[in-house]
Each structure stands twice: as C-alpha cells, then as structure tokens.
C-alpha cells in the first residue's frame, strides 16, 4: 500500500510526475493547502504574478516557446474570473495549458459561499475540457487526463477545479502511467488514399501556394514543411500564427498573408490554382471575405488535426486529417518515390508573376523621416538581435509591424495572441518565455495602450530578475483603433487617444528597472544595443513614434484578399 497523501500533496506530486518545473500563480483561500505543499518541496518552482490573467499568459508564453504544457494555479472566485481572459487567449490559439483552480469546499458548492463561482460553467466555452474533482479518488487520474488532453490532438487549455476539502482529504497515491479514454482518441496518421490524391494534385499545379498556420508551429513540423517547400520550390506564406514555420529570410517566403499581409502573399493566395493549406484555418483575418475568395477557381488540399477546421469557412477538395508532421513525412516520402515532377515552365512563370508583385514593395515606409517610424524600430531590433530573439507582442499596430518586419527563421520565436487578440498579453507572455529559455533574448514589442493592461507585472519581473526588453512603440494612440477610425469613421478619434500617460521611464525605474526614452531615429540602434548589453536588467525602451503611421497593406473587413489598401 502506498503512503497516504493529502489532495494538496497529490496535486503537487502529479505536477512533479509530469515533469513540470515551473508554474505561475497567485494564492488565495481555496488553494492554501496546495500552496503549503508547494512550500515544502523544491522541484516545482512557483512564479508569483501580480494578477491571475498574467499567470495564465505567462504559462501560455512558457508553453508556446518550449512545447511543454504550461501550468497556472489560481484560487476560487475572482482568481478564476481574472484567469478567464488568459484561458480564452490560449484556447483561441490552441495552446496546451493546465489551469488548476481552487474551489470552495464541496459542501459549500452552490450555496453562494465566499469566493464561490461556477468555474466549470464560466470556463466551459473557452477550454478544451474542464473537470471538477468531487472526490479525492478522482484527483490523480483527473490530473493525468488533464495533461493528456491539453497536449494531444489539437492542443488547448484544460482546467481542473479542486474544492478545498479535496485538498485536505487523504488517500494512497499512485500516478497512472497511461490514460485511455474511449471518447477521446485523436488521429495521428492521415488517410493514405487522401495523401496520394494530394501528391497528384500537388504535382499537377501550375500556380501553387503553400499556406501554413499555427498548426505547423504547435506540432513542431517546421522541419518537414521546409523540406517539402524546398523540394518543390513552391512559394510559401505563413499566417500570423504560423510565422517561423518557414524561414522568413528564404527566397521562397512571400511574407505573411491576410488583413495586413504582403501584396505578393495575398495576390498569390487569391490567384493560385492549387493551395496547400497546412495547420491553418482560413479565418476571417486571413482570407477576408470567403465569397470573394471563392470567386477564383483553385483546388485546395487541407492538412489539419482538427476535422472541424476542415470546410468550416472554405470548402476544400482534399482534406487530410492527421498530425501535421506525420502527414508531411508521408507526403514527402510519396513525392520522393514518384517519377513525376511539377511543370517547371509553369512554375517559373508563376515565380515571375510573384516577383512582379514583390516589386510593388508593399512594406515600404519613409526611411528619411525625422520622427521615429515604428517599422524602423522593429527592423533595428531584428538587426541588433540578429533575428535570434524571442519576440512577444501585445495587440494592435505594433503587433502587425512586428509580424511584418521581424524576420522569423525559427518556430516558437514569435509569440502573440492571434485568435483572441488580447491586449496585455505581451509582457506576461514574455515572462513565461524568459523562464522557459533563461539564456534567450526576449523582447516584448508593445504599445503604450497595451502595456498598461498588465503593467503590474513589472513587479514580477523585478522579483524574478527577468531581463526582458520592453520595446514600447509609443504613439499616444490606440493605434489600430485610430487607424480604423481614420479609414472608416471619418477621422473621429473616439476615445482612442491615450491621455494622462505615465512617465514610463520613471515607472520602470521605480521597480528597479532601467528606462530609456528614444525620440530620434538615429538613436534607435544604439539604444537597442545598449539595452541588450544590460543582460541582467529589464529595460523599458519608450520609443516616441509617428502618431499618424498606419499599417499597410490592409484588407478592409468584408473585402477580398486582392482588394488591399496599399501605401
């Protein structure tokens, strides 16, 4: 008979058994026994955040940059409701998380007890799955299931709600080695017949495009994707979530596509004859209006692990449901064994057309400006970090410029909230990235509006000496809101001006960090170099940028991909 442990001890033992080395959380009444057990051990490190939203974002950044399951621990009631934004963020981007929440004791559930909330109910629509552990006998198996569900198939956040009395009860502990669930069996291998059909179609293409999304990053398929694209010499575009899946500095990379994608990527997407979609979901920010998209005839191959992603917004011709790297390996094998080759004449014509589109130079901006152009800051950041930094972002114009101007050659380097678009994500996510990659250079590209949504985490960064570089593109506006108001709302800038900004330098310094204000274009590079030299310091770089700069190209909402507004 194994030794009897309390529920709190079991919870920690489960984390240890899963190899979790770092969790993010905030204590409170319902999780005090769990915190007591955390205190008594040293295998699982706990990072104390300043707000539960940040705990989940940090766990999320940790997961995105490491391909491990991120773990957050919050208390009942407000602890959980604060965490919801983080959970929904992870859900929209399919990030594997386990969120452990405290709950009031089982005999108090439903009685409107202090700090009680229907956690399972509130989080149900934004988790892959959730559990309420009513009995200690269910605890270990539930934890096992949570990690299993979070990390397999299309990943996602799983919440485990543990009532306080369950953390006190005792029971013999064994951690199950395996778990099998009759109702959950994610597919891995693609249907071979479909893969064969895909090979035929790929080889028949005259104007092919490879379009890949976050699925390539999440499933660690960048290597296979690059091999496939290279052997075919087909152009490749990545979604916002897919950047780094294919090297951005490669000639075959035609840039990001979508609402703020490059001219060449969007035109190629619209006018290709064979589209190979991999781990992407044709969402509204990517293909614009689906009716306009389907005006052009093209055949679509769609590889994705989630059957519900297939033919959701756009009807596809050859669906392949499976784990992306496994399907790509199969595809590459078949392509290698076939004697046929793509039509090289047609392909070189296609490349000529793409290069013509490229000449449009859609990302140009005024490099002679006396005021700092935000694009320039991102470009310099890329140069100074030699393209090797982990870059997180918040949400808005700065996010788009980061995606357009930082060339990601490796997966898991670009960390942003793509699906939910959560302002406040950047800094806490960067904390998670830094903890998962202690030696990595981590920059958070943000704006003066977004950064204030989780600014309290400067304190966490101080406590754990996280040497983030905060690149604040400060234009004194909620830039993307302002841009839409300029384009679509008659220049009426309703509530989008950031009045009463703090002195970010003093604010950073008050936490013991370093602050720098940069106001002239010629100072950008030196400031960045100096910041990265301060290896052990968080540096808050406040770049005062052009207030009127807009993100181009832009596909207005409801328009088609080829209907871009260009500079």
């Amino acid at each position: 008979m194994n030794e009897e442990l309390t529920g709190a001890e079991i919870t920690i033992r489960c984390l240890q058994a899963e190899g979790v080395d770092c969790i993010f959380g905030y204590p409170g009444g319902a999780v005090l026994f769990i915190y007591d057990e955390l205190f008594k051990q040293d295998k699982v490190r706990h990072i104390l955040v300043r707000h539960e939203q940040a705990a989940v974002h940090a766990a999320d950044g940790y997961a995105r940059s490491s391909n491990k399951v991120g773990v957050a621990l919050v208390t009942s009631g407000p602890g959980v409701t604060n965490a919801v934004t983080g959970i929904a963020t992870a859900y929209m981007d399919s990030i594997p998380l386990v969120v452990i929440s405290g709950q009031v004791p089982t005999n108090a559930i439903g009685l409107d007890a202090f700090q009680e909330v229907d956690t399972v109910g509130i989080t149900r629509p934004c988790v892959k799955h959730n559990f309420l552990v009513n009995d200690i006998s269910e605890l270990a198996i539930t934890m096992k299931k949570a990690f299993y569900i979070a990390a397999t198939g299309r990943p996602g956040p799983v919440l485990v709600d543990i009532p306080k009395d369950v953390t006190q009860q005792k029971m013999a502990f064994t951690y199950p080695e395996k778990v099998s669930m009759r109702s959950y069996n994610p597919v891995i291998r693609g249907n071979l017949k479909q893969v064969k059909k895909a090979v035929e179609l790929i080889l028949s293409a005259k104007r092919p495009v490879i379009y890949t999304g976050g699925g390539v990053i999440l499933s660690d398929a960048a290597k296979q994707l690059t091999e496939l694209a290279k052997m075919l010499d087909y152009p490749c575009t990545n979604t916002l979530m897919g950047l780094g899946g294919f090297p951005a500095t490669d000639r075959q990379f035609i840039g990001m596509l979508g609402m703020h994608g490059t001219y060449e990527a969007n035109m190629a997407m619209q006018y290709c004859d064979v589209l190979i979609a991999i781990g992407a979901r044709f969402d509204d920010r990517v293909i614009g209006n689906p009716k306009h998209f389907s005006n052009e005839n093209r055949k679509i191959i769609h590889i994705d692990i989630d059957p519900s992603s297939i033919s959701k917004r756009v009807k596809v011709d050859i669906p392949i449901v499976g784990n992306v790297p496994d399907v790509l390996k199969e595809l590459i094998k078949l392509l290698k064994s076939t004697k046929e080759n793509p039509d090289q004449t047609a392909l070189s014509e296609w490349w000529k057309q793409i290069d013509l589109w490229r000449e449009r130079d859609c990302l140009k901006f005024d490099r002679q400006s006396d005021i700092i152009k935000p694009q320039m800051v991102v470009e310099k950041l890329y140069e100074v970090t030699k393209g090797d930094a982990f870059v997180t972002s918040d949400v808005g114009q700065h996010q788009m410029w980061a995606a357009q101007f930082y060339k990601f050659d490796k997966p898991r380097r670009w960390i942003n909230s793509g699906g939910l678009g959560t302002m406040g994500f950047g800094m806490p996510a960067a904390m998670g990235v830094q903890l998962a990659n202690p030696k990595g250079k981590v920059a958070c590209i943000t704006g003066e509006a977004s950064i204030q949504m989780c600014i309290q985490e400067l304190s966490t960064c101080k406590q754990y000496k996280l040497p983030l570089k905060i690149v604040n593109l400060n234009n004194r506006y909620m830039g993307m809101v302002r841009q839409w108001q300029e384009f679509f709302h008659g220049n009426r800038y309703a509530e989008s001006y950031m009045n009463a900004l703090p002195d970010f330098i003093k604010l950073a310094e008050s936490y013991g960090h370093v602050g720098m204000r940069i106001e002239r274009p010629e100072d950008i590079e030196d400031a960045l170099r100096e910041a990265f030299k301060l290896k052990d310091q968080l540096v808050f770089l406040d770049f005062i940028t052009d207030q009127t700069e807009n993100v181009f190209p832009m596909v207005p909402g409801g328009k088609g991909l080829s209907e871009m507004i260009l500079v």
Binding site: G121, R124, P125, R182, S183, Y184, S308, S311
Partner: protein
C-alpha cells in the same frame, strides 16, 4: 456520451455558442450505466450539419455521433396533453384520441389527459385536429431515435 455531470451542458452550450438551433433534445442513461444516449433534433444546411457533427465529436465526453437521417430510422416522441372535455366534446375527443392511438390516462369531469406517442409530426397533427381552445396544457419529450434493422449503435 459519458454519463457524467456536465456533459449535457457541454452539448447545450456548444449549440448556443455557435448559433446552432436545437429543436428538441432528449437524454437518459443506457443499458450501460456509464453511458447516456442523447437524441438531438436540429436543422441546417448540409454544411451546418457537417459542422454540428464535427463540433459534437470534438467534445471530450461525446463518445460517438451519428446522423440518423443518413439511414433508415425510427423516431418516437411522447406527449401528454390535458384537454378540456365537457359535454359532447368528451366523446369527440375520445374518438380522436383513438384515431391517433392515444390513451386517456387521467380523467376529471372537465378534462382528459391523453398520452400520445409517435413522430413529432403525428403529435403536431393531433394538436391541429383538436380545437386549439380545448388544449389546456401540453408536455412533450422531444424525439428519441434509433436505426432500423439489425444495425446497432454500440461503443
């Protein structure tokens, strides 16, 4: 689906979150007490039904989803209806209940309670056949469905 607390609300939540429509839903445990079986009636284009099916399959507690419309199937719904029954109407309502193979299961001097089983459209037809003002109260279970023939849905 797994006979677990919360499984039903996951299904109901999915339908409301994604804007699908539930016409009826009936659920109860099966001969295997760890499993529940739900019959859900919905409507939509082929694309919508395909998405409904895929989204249901994605729910962790859903073990298997079949679209009964894809093959021959039988569906039945139970309705209890309380109707005003006085004077000459008493005979008329009794006759009507007989025609629809309903049973009168409760009687007062002013009303009958009739139990009626059949497809949803048969139950609708019965309600259409009796005078609307006579209907005092109805309660319906929603359809339960099963495939025809030897084929069985087993986990």
């Amino acid at each position: 689906m797994e006979n677990e607390a919360g499984a039903l609300s996951r299904v109901a939540g999915l339908f409301s979150a994604r804007g699908y429509n539930i016409e009826s839903l009936s659920v109860a445990p099966t001969e295997d007490p760890t499993l529940s079986r739900m019959t859900l009636v919905t409507s939509g284009s082929d694309e919508v039904i395909e998405q409904v099916t895929k989204q249901l399959n994605k729910l962790i507690e859903v073990v298997k989803v079949i679209d009964l419309i894809d093959g021959n199937h039988i569906e039945r719904e139970l309705m209890l209806v309380k109707v005003k029954a006085v004077g000459d109407d008493r005979d008329e309502i009794k006759r009507l209940a007989d025609i629809f193979r309903g049973c009168i299961i409760d009687v007062t001097d002013k009303s009958y309670t009739i139990e009626l089983t059949g497809t949803s459209s048969k139950l609708d037809a019965f309600l259409d056949a009796i005078d609307n003002s006579a209907v005092l109260e109805t309660v319906r279970t929603g359809a339960s469905g099963i495939g025809r023939g030897d084929w069985v849905l087993k986990v």
